[in-house]
């Protein structure tokens, strides 16, 4: 799956690289970077080389619909001059002539008069800054990318075909290697694997459905048969839903539902958006003593929120690896909320680095969990202590309504049940909700054990563009039980 040798291109894996590796090694990407820096002879200040590969199989109506396999190399260049804002250029065309000419023009443009000089400080990583020793690569996944889908897909299809339901599914493996840095400065490399497996099962009349999914960096932790069986079970339990009056209810939210509420929160932790634009829930206006709520309790005191490249389930590349980030700048373990208190914000912008704050990306890899020694409950235990409420398997089409309050709206789907007197009473029709994870996590009744969850499909909404990117960064979340969750209207959607 490594790129092909071609005389016109500079992408040539060095001898000795294992042909079965889906993405290039550090040595190979470094060689590309060195060749490009030599080629461009000082025209660029920074470069990121990313090699990604995926093996995807989609299933619909109990049959294989299509695959979506391949690999891609992407180079992003950066040039700055005279303290003016940087110019960026991205391409997957690694033709030497084209690169040389384009990057010469890049330098000319960087030298031109965009913005006043010295208005922008480019921060670069130094060799003294060490990267956290993450372990994001799993050989089980890498090996599975060549063969596993032909055995895994039948495992998914077999229960679907015998269920009498219409099954749709997704099994995607990915591998990614990224190398970034400056010509004479700091360099960074990381590689990762990931797998996501999801199934929707629907009745042929379209009146009920179920969904389940798994995500992990390690293929050995994924069980397509189990995913299909659980989706079928959820669909069967959802048959014959009845309408329940909308309104504020106690809600037991599965980890899938919690992940979909928390995913839009990533941008809320951005320091620039909070302190300067005042458009996040953590911003403070009209108070000359503070810009934000750091040090104040913002959530239930039983909640911690962290983002840690070393997280065993939620780890990620330990340096800025988006073109808008500070490339190769090391990222750190971040504790954003401790015992409900806001501890820090993500300093993704040079403005923050100018103020001596450590660089970090917005935490779209996130662990939301109970403070140690909190009594945890299973979903069954939460249901057992609920007199009346709604159990939600997952949401759909979640979007931000109002950033300063993190108010979201979306629709339940694939399993929504009335809880009555400590038991699941019956399946109910879906609801639209209008609520904020900030409000919900301040009305916490119970919290459970965390797990890595897949997102499933995420609708493009309100600039949540990083969730279009696949694979998505890990979310590790618990099931929760909250009071007064706002199910604002019935929805006809199934």
């Amino acid at each position: 799956m490594a790129p092909q040798r071609n005389e016109a291109h500079i992408v040539v894996p060095p001898a000795g690289e294992a042909p079965s590796d889906p993405v290039m090694s550090e040595a190979a990407l470094k060689r590309i970077a060195d060749i490009v820096f030599d080629l461009t002879d000082g025209d660029v200040d920074g470069l990121q080389v990313e090699h990604s590969a995926r093996v995807v199989t989609r299933v619909a109506n109990n049959r294989v619909l299509t695959t979506d396999n391949g690999n891609d190399i992407r180079l992003t260049f950066r040039a700055t001059s005279g303290g003016r804002r940087e110019i960026r250029f991205t391409t997957n065309l690694v033709d030497a002539d084209m690169l040389r000419r384009s990057l010469r023009a890049l330098r000319e443009l960087a030298n031109s008069q965009f913005g006043p000089p010295n208005s922008f400080t480019l921060h670069v990583a130094t060799p003294q800054q060490k990267l956290l020793p993450v372990q994001l690569w799993k050989e089980t996944t890498s090996a599975a990318m060549t063969e596993a889908s032909t055995t895994a897909i039948p495992q998914m299809l077999t229960p679907l075909k015998s269920s009498g339901l219409k099954g749709s599914g997704f099994l995607g493996y990915s591998a990614r290697a990224v190398y970034a840095g400056e010509p004479e400065g700091h360099r960074a490399y990381c590689r990762e694997t990931d797998v996501e497996c999801t199934v929707s099962a629907r009745f042929p009349d379209g009146k009920a459905s179920g969904w389940y999914g798994q995500a992990n960096r390690d293929w050995s932790k994924i069980d397509p048969k189990l995913v299909a069986e659980k989706a079928i079970d959820m669909a069967n339990r959802s048959k014959g839903p009845s309408a329940v009056e909308p309104g504020r209810q106690t809600a037991v939210l599965s980890p899938f539902a919690v992940a979909q509420l928390m995913a839009p929160m990533a941008g809320q932790f951005d320091a620039f958006a909070t302190n300067e634009y005042k458009i996040t829930v953590f911003a403070v206006s009209n108070d000359p003593t503070r810009d934000n709520k750091i040090g104040l309790r913002v959530l239930d005191s039983r909640i911690n929120i962290t983002s840690d490249p070393l997280d065993p389930e939620g780890g990620y590349t330990p340096f800025g690896d988006w073109p808008v980030d500070n490339w190769a700048m090391p990222t750190h373990t971040m504790s954003y909320v401790e015992k409900g208190v806001l501890m820090d914000l993500a300093h993704t912008h040079d403005y923050s680095l100018d103020r001596g704050k450590p660089f970090n990306q917005d935490p779209w890899s996130m662990r939301v969990e109970a403070v140690p020694n909190t009594q945890l409950m299973t979903e069954e235990e939460m249901i057992a202590q609920c007199k009346r409420g709604i159990y939600v398997n997952r949401f759909s089409y979640v979007g931000m309504l109002d950033s300063p309050s993190a108010l979201l709206s979306g629709v339940t789907r694939d399993g929504c049940f009335l809880i009555k007197d400590g038991k699941i009473n019956r399946p109910v029709k879906n609801f639209r909700f209008i609520d904020s994870p900030m409000f919900a996590l301040n009305r916490l009744v119970a919290i459970g054990k965390t797990q890595r969850v897949p997102f499933g499909y995420m609708a493009h909404d309100n600039g949540q563009y990083y969730y279009e990117r696949w694979p998505r960064r890990p979310m590790i979340v618990p099931p929760i039980m909250v009071t007064d969750f706002n199910f604002s209207a019935l929805s006809d959607a199934v």
Binding site: P3, Q4, R5, A8, H9, R58, A60, N61, R63, V64, L65, T66, T67, D68, N69, R85, I87, R88, F89, T90, T91, N92, L93, D97, M98, R101, S102, A105, L106, L109, S112, F114, G115, P116, T150, P154, K166, S168, V199, D205, Y397, G399, L401, D402, P404, S405, L407, S409, V411, R413, R432, I434, Y457, A459, H460, E468, W470, A489, D492, A493
Partner: protein
């Protein structure tokens, strides 16, 4: 005829005069100074159509040599740039431009039961042959597991080429000059309109895409897409934002730099400024939560179509092929809804792919020429958006109608390296032939709401309901009396809402909308656009969303 640099500067000067006589720019650059910064200097060494065709042929040959019974391939070279205002500490300074250039290729092959798809993003014979072989191998492998047959409608072989007509090549206009245009417009707007916060982006994408099939189709299309985004002004009064209409139209278009600088643009700018400025004179207030009659202006109706109604007609969604991805449709299952009176009798909805819009093409991504389709006729569901893979589901209906079972040409890949899907259409809701202005629709309204589009709609997995957000005004006794602050949204179930339709506007009320949407897994971006008249519905549920934005 192309305008020279001098004419473009004259345009900028005229624009500022139209906005109130403010001098624009801080310097004038000579042609020599600016020549180096034209985007095409960065992107000179592209891939010629002939090279793309050679690569496509290599992929197909490899696929068929490896056992594919059918294969098609899309290969493309795509260049793009965009530049906008720096919304930080320097409001009159353009932000860093970004520029990119990509090769994208994707091969789809069948061995009977299903498709295998493999993409290749290196423009080499080796890479495309590998992709072709791999796609065929995948198809054969899954055919061994799934022994059903796949229906794939035939299509006549087509050979041709098409290039977007344009007057000024945007890639040849120096970025410095484009930066001057942004700054000039923004300064001009602020000089003319109080509370204004204009946000102008300039950007273009040029893509040459070749589609080739093993049944003899070969199409080469070069699209020049204006990705310019240009709400002329956002005016802030307290927490309320009031948006003007788009200066360059609500739908992104194919065309050159003349879209930004055509002779009609200063007049259009002036007209929009004059239309929007009075809105800031209205008081703003919150509306009491409740149920009100509601008028969708043309752009608001168009938004409803691009975000909910239109995508619901994508036949792959109706058939459940997207159930685990973007969702299904309120038209599912097809057997229950086809040829039924589901929508208002006043609604006749057409789809097409006119090449003036970026949703348009001369041929789709299976090489089929898009046909206009009447989706809804006087409220009856009559047809769907189809491709060669899905149209077979309509075999019985088409046979009864005596029409061939052929794709209508709505197959799209967001980029050439993504699997084809059903999507990308321009929808047209027919206006009322009887004279009915927006004022006429408002006339009988004692107390209601006017929605000023385009609107943003949070939908659901079947596109059957939503929460609608955007600019709203309060109507009392037939006249606008207040602008509503941004604390409200309209919650609705689509079909019950449309059942309350009382009136449709005429051609004078027509507005535009354009929406990006995601389809497939991993997701790819598909566009929809629409033109539609205003409409009056007697019942919209207005809820509070607390706080402004």
């Amino acid at each position: 005829m192309s305008l020279g640099a001098c004419d473009r500067r004259q345009f900028l000067s005229t624009l500022s005069l139209a906005a109130g006589g403010v001098m624009l720019g801080s310097r004038v650059l000579s042609a020599e100074e600016t020549r180096g910064t034209a985007p095409q200097r960065w992107l000179e060494a592209g891939l010629a159509p002939e090279q793309l065709r050679t690569l496509a042929a290599a992929a197909l040959d490899a696929a068929t040599a490896n056992g594919a019974t059918y294969a098609d391939v899309r290969v493309a070279y795509r260049q793009r740039y965009q530049m906008g205002p720096y919304n930080g500490f320097m409001p009159d300074t353009p932000d860093s431009p970004y520029v990119d250039a990509f090769f994208e290729g994707g091969v789809r092959a069948s061995a009977g039961a299903t498709f295998g798809f493999h993409f290749a993003d290196i423009p080499s014979i080796d890479a495309l042959q590998t992709a072709g072989r791999a796609a065929a191998a995948l198809a054969k492998g899954f055919t061994a597991i799934d022994r059903g047959a796949m229906e794939f409608a035939p299509a006549p072989a087509v050979q041709g080429a098409w290039v977007t007509p344009y007057t000024i090549d945007p890639f040849a206009v120096p970025l410095d000059e484009q930066a001057d245009l942004i700054v000039g417009i923004q300064r001009g707007v602020r000089a003319r309109l109080p509370y204004a916060d204009p946000s102008v982006y300039v950007g273009w994408e040029r893509e040459t895409r070749v589609c080739m099939t093993t049944t003899g189709t070969l199409t080469t299309q070069t699209f020049l897409r204006a990705t310019t985004a240009n709400p002329i002004v956002k005016m802030q009064r307290g927490l309320t934002s009031i948006w003007s209409r788009y200066m360059y139209g609500g739908i992104t278009r194919h065309g050159g730099y003349e879209i930004m600088t055509g002779p009609e643009v200063p007049e259009r700018f002036k007209a929009l400024a004059e239309e929007t400025a009075p809105l800031t004179m209205y008081p703003t207030r919150a509306l009491d939560v409740g149920r009100y009659p509601v008028i969708f202006d043309g752009a608001a109706t168009a938004s409803l179509i691009t975000q909910l109604v239109g995508p619901a007609f994508q036949l792959d969604r109706v058939l459940g092929l997207e159930a685990n991805a973007s969702g299904t449709s309120f038209l599912s299952p097809m057997e229950e809804h086809f040829e039924t009176q589901l929508l208002p009798k006043q609604w006749t909805l057409h789809a097409g792919r006119p090449t003036e819009f970026t949703t348009g093409a001369k041929w789709d991504d299976e090489g089929v020429a898009p046909q206009p389709v009447t989706l809804v006729e006087e409220g009856r569901v009559m047809n769907y958006l189809t491709d060669r893979q899905t149209v077979s589901a309509l075999r019985d209906a088409y046979t009864k109608r005596g029409v061939p079972v052929q794709s209508a040409g709505y197959c799209s890949s967001g980029t050439a390296d993504r699997p084809p899907t059903v999507g990308q259409a321009h929808f047209t809701l027919a206006p009322n032939p009887a004279r009915t202005s927006t004022d006429d629709l408002m006339r009988g309204m004692t107390h209601g709401v006017l929605l000023r589009g385009p609107m943003h709609i949070l939908g659901d997995q079947q596109l059957s309901s939503g929460l609608l957000l955007g600019d709203m005004a309060e109507i009392r006794n037939g006249k606008m009396v207040n602008y509503l602050d941004n604390s409200m949204g309209m919650q609705f179930r689509l079909l019950p809402l449309l059942k309350t339709l009382k009136g449709l506007g005429d051609a004078s009320t027509v507005g535009e909308a354009h929406t990006d949407a995601l389809k497939g897994e991993p997701p790819q971006t598909i566009w929809n656009s629409a033109t539609a008249p205003a409409m009056l519905c007697t019942s919209g549920d207005f809820v509070s969303k607390k706080g402004g934005y």
